[in-house]
Amino acid sequence: MEFGLALFTGLWYWFWAGAPGYTFHYVFKQPIVMALPIGLIMGDVPTAMKIGASVEMVYIGMVAAGANLPADECLAGVIAIPIALKAGINPETAVTLAIPFGILGVFMDQLRRTINVSFGHKADKYALEGDTKGIGRCAILYPMLVGFLLRFPPVFIANLYGPELVERFIESIPQWLLHGFSVAGGLLPALGFAITIFVIGKNNLIPFFILGFFLVKYLEINIMAAAIFGTCIALLIVLMKRENGGENV
């Protein structure tokens, strides 16, 4: 099973982190989605889903504005979920395990985009020759091949040999360090939400953020209820503005 799992996770990370299919690859990249096949391979789907969902929550607000990846949730999940399942650690600790890998993945992505520069130059040459097939290779084949060399080996090796090592490693980590990582796990989503506020970029609408925040804190409504209230508020504002002749909000 170790070999099969290592192979599967390595291929999964390579292929989906390579970004084929703009929003489809994104879905496959998510910890909560990969948790299902990993759970099937390892024979415990419910626990895998719980771990996947916990890791997912850290990254739920992260937006890759201008293609700058804030964190690599795919690497985080593909390493943390199998290890946590194998070692039987709880979802909270699994999150702390995932975080360092989420950061490592960002560097791997930066390396990929640096290497991709050379395929841009290759494409220039093909364009001069009017070679359309060459452009196709630069757009998909070459970047995917480089991605394989970059992404498959580390995940494959980590999942082949990693679980035992990590298990022993975790037992030896002092309590304050583990707790520190779980504090970071609670704080990191703040970065995602801050990025989204920044991307939306409308300072005068920030009170709506605070409204949503305290509506949940005081009234303890769930996400679906928040979505309903939020939609109504947005519609009301837009429609009332229209009635007033469209003055600036």
Binding site: G18, G21, Y22, T23, V27, I32, A35, P46, M49, K50, G52, E56, M57, V58, I60, G61, A65, G66, A67, P70, I103, R113, N116, V117, G120, A123, A127, I135, G136, I140, G180, V183, A184, L187, L191, F193, A194, I195, T196, F198, V199, I200, K202, L205, I206, F208, F209, I210, L211, G212, F213, L215, V216, I221, N222, I223, A226, A234, I237, V238
Partner: protein, 281 residues
């Protein structure tokens, strides 16, 4: 004279591209737009690749084709779904150009670079800022209980955005360049942006309340055996003010000190570990 003119117009306006060409072009873009992303020219190779089914059909002479390919290898970066309006417009401009209309390269490049920023802003707000966290937090609330629907629900996001992109691609093509400009300034698109921004911010706030966690568990022993918890005091002022402060501190940093995510993540890690070591958090 009159009838001749009309006949001329009819042949001129007859589209040279089939629905299938347009669809192929979109499928190529959707499949590849982030694959070849590079630090130098971002999505330029993907843009050129997506235009090939169109260009090959429009330009039969090798020099013309090559020239068009070079034209579309310029720097390009936008959001992959809303940005497709640009591709649609570009296709319609290339179609006109290939019929002999006088459209200089700079006009095509200009429309691309001019629209990619604003459309990325709308797309990031709508798709990444609103749809995505909405659907994924719904999925997470199932997944956390061990249900497999947590792994299925996210595909809703992919399906919605795929068709959204296809619609906008065709919209851009049928509008052409002039109407796209006017549409971006038109009332309804501004309303859409305002509405989506409000919903997005509201949802981000709601999600922050659920997912951002920070406590100060320090308890001060008062005289007479009373205990005073710092967190209790904070909660009595307003629940969750520490997480809220964390979000806005980072927002302030992003806005004023630049978007160095790695630095922020490193700082959060160090702060958390130090805080844990001295017993602050």
């Amino acid at each position: 004279m009159d009838t001749l003119d009309r006949v001329d117009n009819m042949t001129e306006n007859k589209p040279m591209l089939s629905k299938k060409d347009i669809r192929n072009s979109y499928l190529r873009w959707y499949a590849s737009c982030e694959v070849s992303n590079s630090f130098e020219r971002m999505q330029s190779v993907a843009f050129c690749y997506s235009m090939l089914p169109i260009l090959e059909k429009l330009y039969k002479k090798k020099e013309d084709l090559s020239e068009a390919m070079i034209r579309h290898l310029n720097f390009f970066n936008t959001q992959g779904i809303w940005g497709t309006i640009i591709h649609g417009v570009t296709i319609s401009m290339e179609e006109q150009k290939s019929k002999g209309e006088d459209i200089p390269d700079t006009a095509i490049t200009g429309i691309k670079t001019g629209l990619m920023g604003p459309l990325a802003g709308i797309g990031d707000t709508m798709d990444w800022g609103t749809w995505k966290p909405l659907i994924f937090s719904l999925a997470a609330s199932f997944g956390i209980n061990g249900s497999i629907s947590g792994a299925i629900i996210p595909f809703l996001f992919a399906v919605i955005t795929f068709f959204e992109g296809y619609y906008l691609w065709n919209l851009g093509y049928s509008l052409g360049k002039d109407s796209v400009k006017s549409i971006l300034q038109a009332g309804w698109i501004q309303e859409l942006i305002t509405g989506a921004s409000i919903l997005g911010l509201f949802m981000m706030g709601a999600l922050s309340a659920n997912f951002v966690k920070l406590d100060i568990p320090i308890v001060i022993n008062m005289s007479g055996g009373n205990e005073l918890g710092i967190q209790m005091i904070l909660d009595s002022i307003a629940p969750g003010i520490l997480p809220l402060a964390a979000v806005f501190t980072i927002y302030w940093y992003l806005k004023n000190k630049g978007q160095n995510y790695t630095k922020i993540i490193a700082f959060i890690l160090v702060l958390s570990l130090l805080g844990s070591l001295i017993g602050l958090f």
